[in-house]
Symmetry: C2
Subunit: 123 residues, 2 copies
DNA sequence: CTAAACGCTCACATCGATGTCATGGGCAAG
DNA sequence: CTTGCCCATGACATCGATGTGAGCGTTTAG
């Protein structure tokens, strides 16, 4: 399939797909006229990229983790593993931050409700 | 206390503290010469701001949620409550995204470990 | 008094993923 | 052939929090 279809099936814009390729996250074969050709596997890969990007990972980190540009080497795999562990730690601490923020927010909501209840009583 | 001390106690840069004020997240009294003066309460407030910013909220959302610029009004409180609920929903779905990403990452780590184990066997 | 350390405002720079526009080629249906 | 749609590349714009530096006043310790 060409880029338009991949875009439609993944929800990623054509612009983004080209950007992913430029950053080494995605490889495509090219038609004789230079147009990008994708297969079913690419749909999965883009989904994974989107998952990781949505989690705030940089394209550089993703590129280091996801084998795609060249054949996997033991050295590369070791590096990838290091990056993965690093990202996992970061993810976990981000989740903790979000959870803390949600608790703080819940507290604020409670305070606000009380204020509104008092205002209603006064009226 | 002046801005330097508040910065030291919260970890927020002076630049950020001035920015928070400009965005309506923080109010300060001014000394006759125009320097910002803070008290203990401001330390707490900055901590809350940091919690929310770390969770990816915008200063605008925070400004709408946290009463600070003017006296609380019932109308404002209602608006604040709406924003809070909105942000809470967003937070929860972000947490879900991060959790999904972590699971995908765990899967990738597993695959990578297997690859390395096989490579070690072959050697 | 003086110098160092601090504060003020204003303005410009940064980062990263994505949008958008310009210019031009490729291909299928009328 | 032409019209219309898809694609390619490249350049520039965007957003938001923060960094940075200039130019100038304030405070405080020696």
């Amino acid at each position: 399939m060409r880029i338009g279809e991949l875009s439609a099936r993944t929800g990623a814009s054509r612009r983004s797909l080209r950007y992913y390729e430029q950053q080494g996250l995605l490889v495509s074969t090219r038609s004789p006229s230079g147009q990008r050709c994708y297969n079913e596997d690419h749909v999965q890969r883009v989904a994974l990229i989107q998952t990781f990007l949505a989690a705030g990972m940089s394209t550089m980190s993703i590129a280091q983790m996801v084998p795609c540009m060249s054949e996997p080497t033991t050295a590369k795999a070791l590096h990838a593993l290091a990056v993965m562990n690093h990202e996992r730690t970061r993810l976990t601490s981000t989740i903790d931050s979000l959870t803390a923020a949600r608790e703080a927010l819940d507290h604020l909501i409670e305070v606000n409700r009380s204020f509104l209840a008092n205002a209603a009583d006064a009226a």
